[in-house]
Symmetry: C2
């Protein structure tokens, strides 16, 4: 007999079997595909099951609800999402710290566009399922905003509002993942993804060096 109580508790404490680990990974991969392009409400369990090549009841054996899949994806996402901001070093050179922050964010947008869109969908729809996590994000932003303010006070950076500086970096970098459909039409299919991100990196580098030099 099935034991959904333990098996489907993906983040459970009981040790998971090999099959559990494999199937859960397959399911999350499929769920990421579907959630990131249709949003939570627009996605259906059947779609995810199709993508995963599993039956619907089989999916629900590993994750008790659609929301459980969504939640686990978001939880996994947020950690890696905040890491680049975390890595900003108060001891480093301000301009190059910000440059490499932009570089790391661009890499994330290039290598994990689905994750970016999953997050964008959630925020766009009012962030109903990640209010708590956003508080964590706010605290991290506050911490880094203070570092930036100190840099400004020390005359190492042009005077500016650090919050809006961070917002602008988020938006310009994530734009290439979230609005990929638009970017592709404007630049033409011919432009390869790799070139596109290199061009973007050059442009943003120049923009922020010019705009932030004291």
């Amino acid at each position: 007999m099935a034991q959904p109580k333990s098996a489907s508790r993906a983040a459970g404490t009981r040790k998971r079997t090999r099959i559990q680990r494999e199937k859960e990974e397959i399911i999350l991969e499929a769920a990421l595909d579907v959630f990131s392009t249709h949003g939570f409400r627009g996605a259906t369990i059947d779609q995810i099951a199709d993508h995963a090549g599993l039956s619907k009841p089989n999916l629900l054996y590993y994750f008790r609800t659609k929301e459980a899949m969504h939640r686990q994806l978001l939880d996994q996402l947020l950690e890696s999402w905040l890491r680049p901001l975390h890595e900003i070093d108060a001891q480093g050179d301000p301009i190059s710290e910000i440059q490499s922050y932009i570089g790391r964010k661009l890499e994330l947008a290039r290598d994990f566009p689905r994750e970016s869109r999953l997050f964008a969908n959630e925020i766009l729809q009012g962030a109903p399922r990640i209010q708590e996590e956003l508080v964590e994000l706010r605290d991290l932003v506050e911490e880094k905003a203070q570092i930036i303010l100190n840099w400004i006070r020390q005359g190492k950076l042009a005077k500016c509002d650090p919050h809006h500086l961070i917002f602008s970096i988020w938006s310009t970098t994530q734009h290439y993942a979230d609005f990929d459909a638009q970017v592709t039409v404007v630049l033409g299919d011919a432009k390869k993804t790799k070139d596109r991100f290199e061009d973007a990196g050059r442009f943003l580098s120049q923009l922020y060096i010019g705009g932030l030099k004291p």
Copy 2:
């Protein structure tokens, strides 16, 4: 007897009655609310009907399908959406042309956030319903990119990729509408919307003046 064929053809050629004009406006207003927060697939006709204070069949008397409402919203949107870019004047002063373009885009984000989110939702989901319209957008971008390139050749603007310049302006300005839920958490509820957009305007002004001056 009802004549859905003509009445529900919202953009029809037959002259519309007073009631038709009023109700269609009410419905589109409600549809904008719902579509912009849930996306096309996530929105239901019942929700829109509730928002509009009408019965579901009554809604479908004015718009034959859910898709018809969505399409009309997008059609109306795109014109006003492209206007700020249209207004960039090749004869004007480059830096101040770009400054006022940013200003106009920020105003749109402030005054029409739902429209911005409707558009964002559509692009995020791969722009399945507005591929044709995006081609129009591409041509306009190409035209303005040429103007910017000329400015650069004349030494009036720092050398940069005009496409990515436009992308960065789109993303930084629309961010305040599309990611409002996140911005509000980070800045705190206390910060009034008006102040927020003024701060953003100041920051972006500085960033682009510094980054684009030749």
